[in-house]
């Protein structure tokens, strides 16, 4: 590959002050230029944790900071690998660009947005890297095919598995950064682990990253942090309630648009997506500021469902929940009927949310070769899967890890006349 202008080092190192890594160091012009693109700057307006700020008020941090953090971790790990002669330096810039850009395709409140509109942020990441964007132009200046290599690393279809593992594996730069960053901003006491110790015990073997057995406790700590963060933060029932309402708002707005409803505040930036005609350019115009503007404004719409759901989201009047049990399936038609009789539309006010709905996952020791487990490098040179050696990890990896809840507006149910038959039916079925 030809060394072009952008592979040059900056005349002077640039740093970003960061609460997790103290400083993020940028020495390459390409990285600096990528950070300056409009597509990357857009990430400042997309929260890392979506609706979690309604549960943990500190969780207002953006995907911009996280992306810089992943880049910084990748940079430091690569330095360690280079020092041990475990790294092909021609892969460095590809890996650093992939680390920096791995989340660039996230949209506003991605998870809900994707469910309603069928978009996929990973596909948009690919489109931003390969399409008509400033990012693509900068990457292609490095030589033909450079952008494609970066996209392949993020899409996990790059032939060098070590590079892919650095960005995407059971202990990767992405997870290490978000666990520490999310713990910091939510203010929770779990989520912390000794990242530098983990880096010190990282080794490479057959294209994969493994960990020295002597560092097992640091890895255990990481797994426990992930476990705690999953249940206490990422899968918090209140956050999920906000996600449910957000999803229903987007659903309602889409339905109303197709029914020809005359919005007081017409959702111009969303019309293309309602019609299924959204281009990359349209997508890049969306961020959470735009979406929240409409939620605020739509509280004044004449449609009672849309205005109520927006009021709930903006003012944190969230749905309550009951644990979902299989017997609720038997009564689902009855329950929906009682909601309808009570004038509460079950299509918008009754929703099941399950752990399969979470964009986060817990550690599992492999699955028929699908997931690469965490391997410990034993003193005799053999590899042992982590949960086989660690009692702590073994105790949490074999346990039930599903959680399903039924969300509903308790306030609306209790506003119904006390002895009305539908209220009694709803209370009886939900056990409230």
């Amino acid at each position: 590959m030809v060394l072009t202008r952008s592979f040059q080092k900056l005349n002077e190192e640039k740093v970003f002050k960061d609460p997790v890594h103290r400083y993020i160091h940028v020495r390459d012009r390409l990285i600096w230029d990528l950070i300056g693109t409009p597509e990357f700057q857009r990430l400042r307006r997309i929260r890392q944790l979506g609706t979690t700020f309604l549960t943990f008020h500190g969780a207002e941090h953006s995907r911009f900071g996280h992306s810089l953090g992943v880049y910084e971790i990748a940079r430091r790990v690569i330095d360690i690998f280079k020092y041990r002669n475990h790294w092909d330096d021609s892969e460095t810039m590809i890996a650093l660009c992939a680390a920096l850009l791995h989340d660039v395709g996230h949209g506003p409140f991605s998870h809900s947005f994707e469910k309603v509109f069928g978009t996929n942020h990973e596909e948009y990441t690919q489109k931003i890297i390969l399409g008509d964007t400033e990012i693509h132009r900068l990457l292609e200046e490095q030589g033909e095919g450079f952008a494609e290599k970066v996209a392949d690393v993020i899409g996990k279809t790059y032939p060098n598995r070590l590079v892919v593992s650095l960005i995407s594996s059971q202990i990767d730069a992405d997870r290490m950064d978000y666990l520490l960053r999310d713990a910091y901003f939510t203010g929770v006491s779990y989520g912390h682990f000794d990242m530098e110790r983990i880096w010190r015990v990282m080794r490479t073997q057959d294209d994969q990253i493994v960990f020295k057995f002597s560092g097992m406790h640091a890895v255990e700590d990481y797994i426990m942090s992930r476990y705690q963060m999953y249940w206490q933060v990422y899968f918090h029932p209140v956050t999920r309630s906000a996600e449910v309402i957000l999803t229903q708002i987007l659903h309602r707005a889409k339905v109303l648009y197709h029914e020809g409803f005359r919005f007081k505040y017409a959702p111009y930036p969303l019309i293309k997506i309602f019609k299924g005609e959204m281009t990359l350019k349209d997508y890049l115009k969306l961020d959470e500021s735009v979406i929240l503007y409409f939620f605020q404004a739509w509280q004044e719409e004449k449609d009672p469902i849309l205005s109520d759901l927006c009021f709930r989201f903006m003012n944190r009047r969230l749905f309550k929940y009951v644990e979902f049990t299989p017997s609720l399936i038997e009564s689902k038609d009855q329950l929906a009927g009682a909601f309808r009789d009570a004038g509460i539309d079950p299509d918008y006010y009754l929703e099941i949310d399950s752990s399969s709905n979470s964009p986060y996952d817990l550690y599992r020791p492999g699955e028929e070769g699908e997931r690469q487990p965490i391997q410990l490098l034993m003193p005799d040179g053999t590899l042992h899967e982590l949960s086989q050696e660690s009692d702590v990890v073994g105790s949490i990896t074999g346990k039930r890890r599903t959680d399903v809840k039924l969300y509903y507006p308790k306030d609306r149910v209790f506003d119904l006349p006390e002895h009305s038959p539908y209220r009694e039916r709803i209370q009886e079925i939900l056990g409230i």
């Binding site: 899409g155 996990k156 279809t157 299989p326 399936i329 099941i352 752990s355 399969s356 699908e370």
Partner: protein, 173 residues
């Protein structure tokens, strides 16, 4: 409510049971690409397209008691799981009519293949946005073991699936 779960249960019901999570993963991916209404998001993993969402939904179906998971020894070192519908699962499915299209030949054709073959099919379908030669090169670079050994059969099988798709699922064309 739980439509995605119902589709998985319906597929397992239609096929009389599925042996192995990997086979289910690859089959669902192939069916999705053929126009079946599976909504799970797949990413490329070590052995091709894989959906974390699907994996958890399968566990949830087991937790609900709608599926029965029987463990079978594949060989001395490995075991695999056989999934079949329970009585409660049959009851669950009565609440979800027509969640999957009835395309018997297409479904049978896929489910009659072994896991390794389906893995190769799924990998090649994952790259079918590329010209075929490039897709083959890419697939081989990532998983030469399953793709390389079966290449001709896999390509012929994909063509056959598309032909059956055009007969049985004309709307999705």
């Amino acid at each position: 409510m739980l439509e995605d779960h119902a589709k998985i249960a319906a597929l397992i019901n239609q096929t009389g049971g599925i042996s192995g999570r990997k086979k289910l993963q690859k089959a669902v991916y192939i069916f999705q690409r053929l126009g079946y209404p599976f909504q799970q998001i797949f990413h490329f993993h070590f052995s091709g397209p894989y959906s974390e969402e699907l994996s958890i939904q399968l566990e949830e179906l087991c937790d609900f008691g709608f599926l029965i998971e029987d463990r079978e020894d594949r060989n001395e070192e490995e075991e695999t799981c056989f999934y079949r519908l329970s009585e409660a699962g049959e009851g669950f499915l009565t609440h979800y009519k027509n969640v999957l299209p009835t395309v018997r030949r297409l479904t049978e054709q896929v489910m009659n293949q072994n896991t390794w073959f389906l893995e190769a099919v799924a990998i090649l379908l994952y790259f079918d946005y590329l010209p075929r030669i490039e897709a083959i090169e890419k697939a081989k670079a990532l998983n030469n073991e399953s793709v390389g050994e079966n290449l001709e059969h896999v390509l012929a099988f994909i063509d056959e699936l598309h032909m059956l798709q055009s007969i049985e699922m004309p709307v999705s064309q």
